[in-house]
Amino acid sequence: MDISDGTFWDELVEAANGDPDLRRKCAHARACTFAVKIDDVQHMLEFHRGTLRRLETRDLTGARFSISGPKAEWQKVITGAVPYARAINVFHGRLKVEGDALAAMWTTPALWQLWRVSASLSGSMTHA
């Protein structure tokens, strides 16, 4: 499982859209785009009316906010080894959330759920 690769994010998006909790937690979102930056690799995602999709673009100017940091720290979040809040904590974490703080706050429950889905996905891939 290479978490930098687009294939992983496509699988995660598919799993996320099959998760009723995640769909409920982003039902209020309207074209809420955000960037995931893993070292120097970037992916653009969007919560919109209860769904998540990956945007095929390298242009991040439309992102409301970004979450960035080293791959090793991302690996911990995506596999559920550390809580999302710890990873983005100013004292404990190595991920940075930048941009529209309100948008990041509004999507916080959906993001937590997304990392639960990713932990489940990575677990099943590990054991496959």
Binding site: V82, A85, R86, V90, F91, A101, T108
Partner: protein, 268 residues
């Protein structure tokens, strides 16, 4: 079951709610950031045969009235001084102080600065906790932010896997019933708390307890605090495996037993 009594007292002209339980030497117990004193009820009952436990709701928390202008305290030294005024009014004698998280930090601060403190039990307490940004704190009272939604996953990630179901449920209720301005004031005090230079002034016995699954007030932070308690007459650090950021709420029996063992050793 020992009876828990709730009363009001005027502190600085504002009605302050507090609960007491038991008879014996006094223990002042301080709740965590943004919450209220009910989280201590399990421990209160279990200590009641030997100690009188007194638990206030800080201004603007629980049933205590806020300060003038609907303000809450926002600085650790100010909260400690308010607690000193409260204790002078309600306890009126020397006392043991305990608290958790922000309350744990405040316990250490009170032990360092107030001569009437005769012992400290600090749960998840540290002398340096720069863990919240001003942006995060400012958003807590933004009109378009609901903390009961935005903070739930964060708060519940702090609860340990061995918490009782009741402790877990009341932690969740604490988020659902949150008062944003109270939470903001407390976490401003917590995030800006740096009392490292005061730790050498603590001379009374200190128990530092650490829920091993708390990632916010980490074991390393508590250990660093312990290293600075160079003049305390007794220092003990007790790990609490399986517990998180709210040990007194998550497992009152284990915390009470730990406290009584420490009180016996320290002659408190």
């Amino acid at each position: 079951m020992p009876e828990i009594l709730g009363r009001y007292v005027n502190i600085r002209g504002r009605r302050t709610y507090f609960e007491t339980c038991g008879d014996g030497p006094a223990i002042l117990a301080i709740h965590t950031a943004g919450r209220e004193g009910r989280q201590w009820q399990g421990v209160m009952e279990l200590l009641a045969s030997r100690y009188r436990v007194v638990v206030p709701d800080l201004p603007g928390h629980g049933k205590s009235w806020p300060l003038a202008g609907n303000e809450c305290l926002q600085d650790a030294h100010d909260i400690a001084q308010w607690l000193r005024d409260f204790a002078a009014s309600v306890i009126g004698d020397s006392f043991i102080v305990t608290g958790c998280s922000l309350g744990g930090n405040l316990s250490l601060l009170m032990g360092a600065t107030f001569g009437e403190v005769r012992g400290v039990v600090s749960l998840q307490g540290c002398d340096f906790t720069p863990t919240f940004t001003d942006t995060a704190l400012d958003l807590m009272t933004h009109p378009q932010v609901s903390l009961m939604h935005a903070n739930m996953d964060f708060s519940m990630s702090l609860v340990g896997s061995k918490s009782t179901p009741e402790g877990r449920a009341f932690s969740e209720w604490g988020v659902l019933s949150i008062i944003p301005v109270a939470q903001q004031g407390d976490l401003r005090a917590y995030g800006r708390c740096d009392i490292r230079s005061l730790m050498e002034k603590v001379t009374v016995p200190v128990l530092l307890a650490h829920g091993s699954e708390d990632w916010l007030a980490s074991r390393e932070m508590v250990e660093a605090t312990k290293e600075r308690l160079v003049n305390a007459s007794l220092v003990r650090m007790v790990p609490l495996p399986g517990l998180g950021h709210f040990p007194h709420l998550e497992d009152p029996a284990r915390v009470s037993e730990m406290m009584l063992t420490f009180f016996d050793e320290a002659g408190l």
